[in-house]
Subunit: 471 residues, 2 copies
């Protein structure tokens, strides 16, 4: 294990190293595909469990649709095929024979799910249809990075159909709200939610909602999206229902998803020079107990005490480090690298005094805690860690958030300083495209209106917009 | 919804109808691929949750490996490629370009996981490696049937590496035991466990363990397998470790899995003329409450009572049927089709008397139960249903289990009567192949020895074997 690159000087290299050294992922022999190792996969399982519960509580049901989609399905919706065609992986041979019609590996499942919705939907009484799928997705990306952009990734994709446009709008906004609550309360990542511009919308959506976070290097990350899907999908798949007046009508559709990219967001938001820092809600190990073995002291007594401590921490994910080949120092290093929020050290003297040393990963303090009150202490400490992680990330983001009226001012600054720039915009694509010169893009439209004029053309602004470089 | 085909006269058609009518699956537009609908997917989620817990409790960790595998990987192990080559789906085009090396969609993941094991394994201290993956699999099958044999299916695949052959043997047998416990205690399916013959082994295994159940039509179903994998895989992937003596050694490997086929097993083991019968442990709805609305009676009072009843059933998956477009009779029909183990009816007179009618799906009886003791009553009833389902399936199996010394006797009988035939076998492939004439095969080798001679050649038998037609 080599030292991590300097997080302040070379954030990108730091990221590439830390995800491997902390054993979240490994490279695979398949271009752009990652192997998610057990420690990384447990984070994903914890994310899944929480998100899945919220998806079900808001009235959706899980189902499974085929991995492979007839190529012709994608072509039924013009914008959709244009958006995804360059990224498709195509199966042309199966069972030893060339297929009559090639099958694509799903780059997203709107088309095949809408085909099924059309079969299932007859009357307004069948609405709303509220379906979710947890699955793998393949998009042939040019440049890949673990979690942030990979050829294969994992996600959930919700797909719903509604009687009225208003209902579909409410659904899209509700899921956006669920996601932002999840990001802030469980991942401890402050996010900004809003609409995408026309150019940044999902291929085939009428409206794309996004929630964005700012990474430590000042680049924005799209954490997830929620869409109102164009009715052209319903038309392309003959998805009609008999409405309350007895007429055939097209339903209003939504889709929304979050991916394994959230793990990358966690790493880039909270990590430090020592490695990961994981928010307690999704940390595979919330507390690691390290018995401090000393020569001449029976290790069994320490292990027994460690086990008793672990047993007293109800509902906490605890690991006792029983590795007898490493020094305590090497163990501390390794658990810090892996971002375990709390470490408990227990040595011979602690044993005598019926106490343990509690150390947190954020450097809030180190305290000797009596074994009798350690359960309550840890509960309180984990809550404090979540809050502190959120507050630090919030402060960091705000320190990189700027207001600027003119592209000629913030454009050159964007070259030097990454960050989130709030400005005014007339909403014309001609103005938006000028951001490309600075490798930046609009991230999301805001409701508020600080600026009266557009950052580029000086004509009246419709509302403010956030601009940044992005992952 | 049309009447189900006669389960006794045309079991196969009954199966094909019931899985669709009960809304477990739907046909997809992709050949041989199924859409698992929410009701079917909830069964799979319940199976997954229980199996996943057992996999973790026995020391395995989940991870994720790529969907796509370089074609050359499969060729490294001769038997493996021979076994899977005819069933592969091959990606030849990606990102708009023809790939230099085609990628196959995993038909199983031994090769790519062994490649990664070789990277992770250095010393005996790294052993055992105990990894599991929940994922989708594609095998281009000629004839497909929902759940039993589909082009895409879902499974878990465990993969482990061990220091000694004995440890790998213990692992393979332990997982077999976990599976059979699961099948019998949760799915209420009686199974027979044992070794597969050389001809029936997994391509590339030294030893394949299987657990088999007999369906109601007397055909056997392989429910899952656990393998000791040939060391030729370790050699093909240069998977070595430094042993305790400091020498380079090859580890001993296992793999094991169960699939969405288990849902087919449930349907075919427990179903009856009315539809599915689901064991309580995996039923998406364990208890359905049907308020019996009557003209002139305020429905709200009934719904309130139904809700109060539901609230009193802690830890039970309850659904209240609030559909006001159907008669009670139509509702009963539909919930019976879907196999819900217990129905509670509550009408105006029940309301007065503070009771509810409890009816079970097996026809054990119908009883008026006072609301105060309904929680305890339902707990006991669900346990009774599990036991009764198991006992019925066991009795049914035993009624179709025969002992017979000679193929000339049981061969012709196999043509007329499906069933499980126990006989003696010398273990020669020449004798085994004679079963093909009767569309039968060896299902598993038994430890016991009832028969002294082989069913075909009359030479001494090594041990008994079970013979049947199979799905």
């Amino acid at each position: 294990m080599s030292k991590l690159p300097d997080i302040n000087k070379d954030f990108s290299q730091w990221y590439n190293e830390v995800v491997y050294q902390a054993e979240l992922v490994d490279e695979s022999p398949v271009r752009g595909c990652m192997v998610i190792r057990p420690y990384g996969y447990q984070i994903w399982e914890n994310i899944k469990n929480i998100v899945d519960k919220r998806i079900k509580e808001t009235g959706h049901q899980n189902a499974a649709f085929p991995l492979l989609i007839p190529e012709s399905f994608l072509k039924r919706e013009a914008q959709h095929v244009e958006g995804f065609a360059p990224e498709l992986a195509v199966v042309t041979i199966a069972g030893g024979k060339t297929l009559e019609e090639p099958l694509v590996i799903r780059p997203t499942s709107e088309t095949i799910i809408h085909y099924m919705f059309a079969r299932w939907l007859h009357s307004w009484r069948d609405l709303p249809l509220k379906i979710n799928q947890w699955c793998n997705i393949v998009r042939w990306e040019m440049r890949t990075r673990p979690f942030l952009r990979t050829t294969e990734f994992f996600w959930q994709e919700g797909h719903t159909a509604h009687e009225t446009e208003q209902e579909s709008r409410d659904e899209a906004y509700m899921m956006l709200q669920e996601y932002t609550d999840f990001a802030q309360n469980y991942l401890a990542i402050p996010v900004i939610a809003g609409r995408k511009s026309e150019a940044e919308k999902f291929p085939g959506a009428d409206l794309t909602l996004t929630f964005e976070a700012l990474m430590q290097d000042g680049k924005a990350l799209q954490m997830g999206t929620s869409h109102m899907i164009s009715q052209s999908f319903a038309k392309a798949f003959n998805m009609t229902f008999q409405d309350r007046q007895g007429n055939q009508a097209y339903p209003y559709l939504t889709s929304w998803g979050v991916t394994t990219r959230l793990i990358g967001a966690l790493v880039m938001t909270h990590g430090d020079q020592k490695g990961l820092i994981l928010p307690p809600a999704i940390a595979p190990i919330q507390v690691v107990i390290v018995p401090i073995l000393k020569k001449g002291i029976d290790p069994q007594a320490l292990y027994d005490a460690a086990q008793a401590l672990a047993d007293s921490l109800a509902n906490i994910r605890v690991h006792i480090d029983r590795d007898d080949t490493k020094t305590p120092g090497a163990k501390f290093y390794s658990w810090e690298l892996k971002g375990v929020p709390v470490r408990i050290e227990i040595g011979p003297r602690d044993l005598e005094q019926q106490q343990a040393m509690v150390v947190d990963r954020l450097g809030l303090g180190k305290e000797a805690v009596s074994c009798t009150r350690i359960g309550a202490y840890i509960d309180e400490l984990l809550a404090r860690i979540r809050k502190e992680l959120f507050d630090r990330a919030y402060a960091k983001r705000e320190s990189m958030r700027y207001h600027s009226a003119h592209l000629e001012d913030f454009g050159p600054r964007l070259r030097e300083h990454n960050g989130l720039y709030q400005t005014g915009w007339c909403r014309s694509p001609e103005c938006e495209i000028k951001l490309k010169e600075y490798q930046a893009a609009t991230r999301c439209l805001l409701e508020e209106k600080h600026f009266e004029i557009c950052f580029a053309c000086q004509k009246p602004s419709i509302s403010d917009v956030l601009v940044a470089k992005a992952y």
